[in-house]
Symmetry: C2
Subunit: 390 residues, 2 copies
């Protein structure tokens, strides 16, 4: 059964080795003054910064560098928006991973807004315009290159918000898998865990259909198989290309058109974790996943676990349901562990004394407890998940 939906993703994906050479032609459609956004030194080390600057000859380039993981409203978004206004920037070019893209999306909206940008990000005010965004992706993970959302942290408020608006779709995303060859094993594992979790958030939803189930299981299977290859052989194009493409499908809803929206509970929990402890997003998600699964396992949700057991993992279809579900939960735990993610929060610096405060934070800002959630989570449930994850 395909439930009601409206779907449109206007972004053009340009995929393959060397596609970045199409950048000048694509950018020129939007203007001559470019805000170039990037993170630390990695794009310089890999030679991409120099390549992009060569391609941008003929454009006026304003730079915003140093965008942090879990990008911050202040200074990154605030500075970027100011640079756009001061320089009459026509178009933003983001070069990097999900954090650089997310930050650039927030900048794109804030640059066209006269008030305090956080009002847009926090949903108090609806944006009416945003600068166009193009991007060159260097990390397979968040899917930000193919969706209209971003996640921005506000350190002053200990807050981390998902901000979604169709104005924020990138116009063109350039995906060259060779740019991910130098991604570290840790970031490769965490990026893939993030993408797997995007699929799972949508898999645990209603209604279900043969088609969506099949797509989502193909996505998880591909991510699991290919990350293990990429961890062993970082320059394996086959594996890196499949990871990059599948990750792009994570968050624009295409994986679950017609499955309805039933919340993204694991992301809600993780956003609190990384707002309080600045841990790597994908690692947090990997650790939460089996604990959340165990919390929500019931007769009502059993069918989802059985489908994963049979179709994703190929477990014996004659196993009793409860046993199958147990094997599925353990299989995710073992898989993430095999990619090098420590499956406990304490080693990442999370302390138990903040658990109750984080649970309150999740309930205050997010949608895990709502009636329409796949399984509504109250405060004791959130505390159980967080404690079990320690």
């Amino acid at each position: 059964m395909i439930g009601d939906f409206t779907y449109n993703t206007p972004t053009t994906l340009v995929f393959g080795k060397g596609v970045v050479k199409g950048l000048p032609e694509a950018l020129a459609r939007y203007g001559k003054t470019v805000l170039l956004t990037y993170g630390g030194g990695s794009i310089k080390k890999m030679g991409l910064y120099d390549e992009v600057m060569r391609l941008l000859r003929g454009f006026k380039v304003v730079e915003l560098s140093g965008i942090e993981p879990n990008p911050k409203y202040d200074p990154s978004v605030v500075t970027g928006a100011r640079l756009c206004k001061e320089n009459n920037v026509d178009v933003i070019l983001a070069v990097g991973g999900g954090s650089v893209l997310d930050c650039s999306k927030a900048i794109a909206a804030c640059a066209m807004y006269d008030g305090e940008g956080w009002d847009l990000i926090s949903g108090k005010v609806k944006a009416t315009a945003a600068l166009p965004i193009l991007d060159v992706l260097t990390l397979a993970a968040t899917g930000s290159e193919y969706d209209c959302g971003c996640v921005i942290s506000n350190t002053a408020l200990s807050d981390k918000r998902g901000y979604v608006d169709p104005l924020l779709y990138p116009a063109v995303s350039f995906l060259d898998p060779t740019y991910t060859f130098s991604v570290s094993p840790w970031q490769t594992a965490c990026g893939t865990a993030d993408a797997i979790n995007h699929v799972l958030e949508q898999f645990f939803s209603r209604p279900t259909s043969t088609f969506n189930d099949g797509i989502m299981i193909a996505a998880i299977r591909s991510l699991m198989d290919n990350v293990l290859v990429a961890l062993k052989e970082p320059t394996n194009y086959e594996a890196r290309s499949e990871l990059m493409y599948v990750c792009s499908w994570g968050c624009n809803g295409i994986l679950a058109n017609g499955s309805g929206y039933s919340g993204w509970p694991m992301h809600s929990i993780e956003h609190a974790l990384s707002a309080y402890f600045d841990i790597t997003h994908g690692a947090g998600l990997a650790i939460i996943t089996p604990r959340w699964m165990r919390e929500i396992l019931s007769d009502r949700t059993m069918e989802r676990f059985v489908t994963l057991g049979r179709s994703l993992f190929g477990f014996d279809a004659s196993l009793p349901d409860a046993e199958m579900a147990e094997k599925v939960i353990n299989a995710f735990y073992s898989f993430f562990e095999s990619t090098g993610i420590p499956m406990h929060l304490a080693p990442l610096g999370v302390t138990a004394d903040k658990i109750e405060e984080m649970a309150d934070h999740i309930l205050a800002y997010d949608d895990t407890s709502q009636d329409w959630a796949y399984v509504p989570l109250d405060k004791p449930a959130l505390i159980r998940i967080l404690k079990a994850s320690m």
Copy 2:
């Protein structure tokens, strides 16, 4: 491995029961004068014509009715383009199935062109503009509502051409599965056969990836399962909704992003068949499918058959490859037969005396014989496939 590609589908899909009520707001973005295109009386019989006309109060409506299956350049496209020019039409609203949509796309381009429209359709001249198209779909089949192609027959030239241009993407497609409740068993079977064939044309391609294979197998599985339900229970919303959605994915390339283009040989053959004998497109494809498969089966192509056997049909993985392939080919034959399609061309009125002429026609206009085809087909091969299909 994901090969190089560029992907963009700008169409908005609006899916669900009752979505047609959004039509006036969507149309108003494009203007006040609408060319309403439709086929025979079926949209009147089901009450959809009256509903659309009520929604179009406030617009100036010019009508083009009687668009035929396998839509004809003359009179349908020629007349539609003339009506657009004479009435300064702003936007085309197609209400119907793939034929009405295809015809409307050709009209949209020809209406903005001063010369002979067939020059655009036959590829002699490249269009520079097209009118915007919206549609209300009444048949799950061709995927025309989500792609930028159309197929137009030119009776005078005994020609049937695929015409593809990004200008031809519908702006908004309204998909209400209840409009397909009254589709006859024959059209339901043939529409599904068409969609299954769209997937197969892309499945037999290079390179392959875990992800694309999984999506395509999920699509075929969903189509096979749900058409059998819809044939028994024509008003089963679960089945009709899944058929309608999956069919939409057929032809815009998303099923095979990164798999490269290796030709659509079965479509090339079928286009000749229906140009000469005006048979139902999906029926022709269903009949050709197992014969084409047997023709191209070899050591090189064996892996595709084995993947279908294991993942689509769940056949015993320990079977010898050749036996598995044989079972796959027979399974497609039996499946199409079970949906009510006679699995021979002769009962549809095709006569053997035209086989050689059709083979020449295919070679003259299409791409089945090219080196880059998945398996290049020469004249003897085409004749073998057609003869075996009789």
